[in-house]
């Protein structure tokens, strides 16, 4: 059993969209590998069937049984990391060996606030289609009538 690791610069795990993700990867494995692949990806988790999108892949051919390398990826403007009642969207860096399914994954947060966006439920859903919040009542404007 070997070791695969991803370390992010300054231990930072939350990033703004468009920001640079920097750090290093390290491997020390029992057998010689054909390749190592480092991917920047997002995937969904929750009730829906998983969606995955790999945005960047950095491949290291014949990496030897141990070594280290720098990582640097520029994040796109979105999608943001979020969690709702049905869906979570998770950003991650993933280092995988070929052949074999040995892997290490480092989750990160991509959001302008530095925290994943939380989506709550509007109360009273499914009872009727009328909204619970009204802009007119918030602004104190009476409804016009005929």
């Amino acid at each position: 059993m070997g070791k695969l690791s991803i370390e992010l610069k300054d231990g930072k795990h939350a990033f703004a969209p468009g920001e640079q993700v920097e750090g290093r990867i390290e491997w020390s494995l029992d057998s010689n590998l054909r390749a190592l692949e480092l991917s920047l990806l997002w995937y969904t988790s929750g009730k829906g069937t998983r969606d995955v999108r790999v945005l960047h892949t950095h491949r290291i051919d014949s990496p030897g049984s141990f070594g280290l390398d720098k990582l640097s990826f520029t994040l796109p403007p979105g999608p943001y990391s979020f969690s709702g009642k049905l869906i979570s969207l998770i950003w991650a860096l993933e280092l995988t060996c070929t052949p074999g399914d040995e892997t290490v994954r480092q989750e990160i947060v991509v959001s302008p606030t530095g925290r994943e966006i939380l989506l709550t439920s509007v109360p009273g859903q499914g009872q009727d289609s009328r909204p619970r919040q009204s802009l007119q009542s918030i602004l104190g404007v009476p409804h016009a009538s005929a």
Binding site: T44, S45, G48, R53
Partner: protein, 565 residues
Amino acid sequence: MVRVDTRGSGGNVSKPASILGRLGLSLFFLFFFAMGSLFEVFILHEFARAMGQRSWKPVPCTIVASEVREDGQSPYAVAVGYQYEYDGQGYSSSAYKRGYSASDTYSGAHKIVQRHPVGRTTVCYVNPRNAAEAVLSRDSLLIGLAALFPLIFVTIGAGGIYFLWRRSPPGEARPIAPIAKRTKGASKYAMAAFFSIFAIVGGAMFYPLGIRPITRTIDAESWQPMPCTVLRAEIGSHDGDDGTTYSVDIVYEYTFNGQTYKCDRYDFIGGSSSGYKGKAHVVEQYRTASNPICYVNPKDPSEAILKRGFHAKLLLALFPLPFLLVGVGGMVYTLRSKNTGAPFLGTLNARASAPASDPLSLLRPVDTGPAVLKPKFSARGKLVGALVITLFWNGIISVFLANTSGLMLIFLLPFIAVGIGLIGFVIYQFLALFNPRPALHLSSRTIPLGGAAELQWSFSGQTSRIREFAVTLRGVERATYRRGTSTYTDENTFYEMELYKTTSLAEIASGQVGFVLPQDTMHSFKAENNKIVWSIGLRGDIKSWPDVKESFEIEVTPAACGRQE
């Protein structure tokens, strides 16, 4: 970090079934596997026999007897006899084809006799290991194609057992990126293979049920009317799993160019169905007819028909069309669709997936000009969609209904209820066609989170019928998942704000409202199975009539660049 629990039954990581549950499911899949394998072995055995017959030696033979024999009523037996020589020794045989004894129709039997008239020298196939065994026609190799059908059951059974018992690493330890790359194309081809079954079944049915009867009907317009003698006219009765079906069985004789022929073809569709009365009427007509007419093919006088021209029964030709269209359409759509999992809507897509050499440029929306919003489905589109589904559903139900009685009818009741509900839905959509139509203009095609926009609306048609009107901004998460063979979509509304509500006729007819999108929420997001959808909903209440209910999707983009503290 807060994460949605994925252990639910519809989630990606399903809760492992108990041993008992797995054993039960294994038995279920084992049944599929065993039945499929049994049929597969049987078909492959038949195919091997047909292949073996390809090595039988073709030798010249002389037909010494050839006639259609009607020992009872039907079927019609073909009595052939032929002589041949093999390795210098003479043999005789009466086997037309291995396993063949008789034809269901006179025409079928007569065709064989016609191909092998007495005195003709033809080719027969002799078993080299037993020269006394010979046939005039070898087994068809097409039975090999039938092996594909039980293969579906074998695959479901074996696949089900494999996935039930395979050991997989825990979700956290499983790589995502390589699996995503592998499955990206595979799911697309699996879907195309699924649709190809519809296309093959539709295509296979379309020739015998559709093209052939129609081309023959057109061709028969030039056939010659001839007087004929009805030899026998009766109603054929056929017992099946779904009850008894009936056919028009009329055997008639006619003379063409001095030669007498016999035929039993009534029309080009043939077969049997459940209705008795209509067939009894036809049979009675021909039984009592003084001068019946049949139509004879001048190119092949052994072919004739009693009923020619287009008639309602030919509508059966349309039956395979939905299968063919769904199959071909599904295959084309699946293979042409891009499996991108694109993060945003519309024009921002291309930029988001482009190399991020200037990440800040990606944050600027491409087109911020005003936009005319259109509903996903027009009123006419909804009506057509409802009509197609209703016709398809009720069409299939009516086929079963026509061949059903007793207990089976009780089983069909829920399906009939759905059919009636669909008819009600069509009526509702038809009435909604006469509703006032809204037109919506949004000040910006894309709105960033925290950004402001102005919405203008105007109605055409009888706006005065609307008693109350409301405009709502909604944010919804939409998750699609599969459970068994069905696909479900769940929705959760995470943002809802009524932007405007009025009962004033003038304001209903046209108006505008400004709004600001919240900043600390999620922008529009569209992947294959998971979506964040923002929309503007219009609701107009109409008394004793379908309400105006329209939803217009809008594109909400990420906020302007930089971190908000």
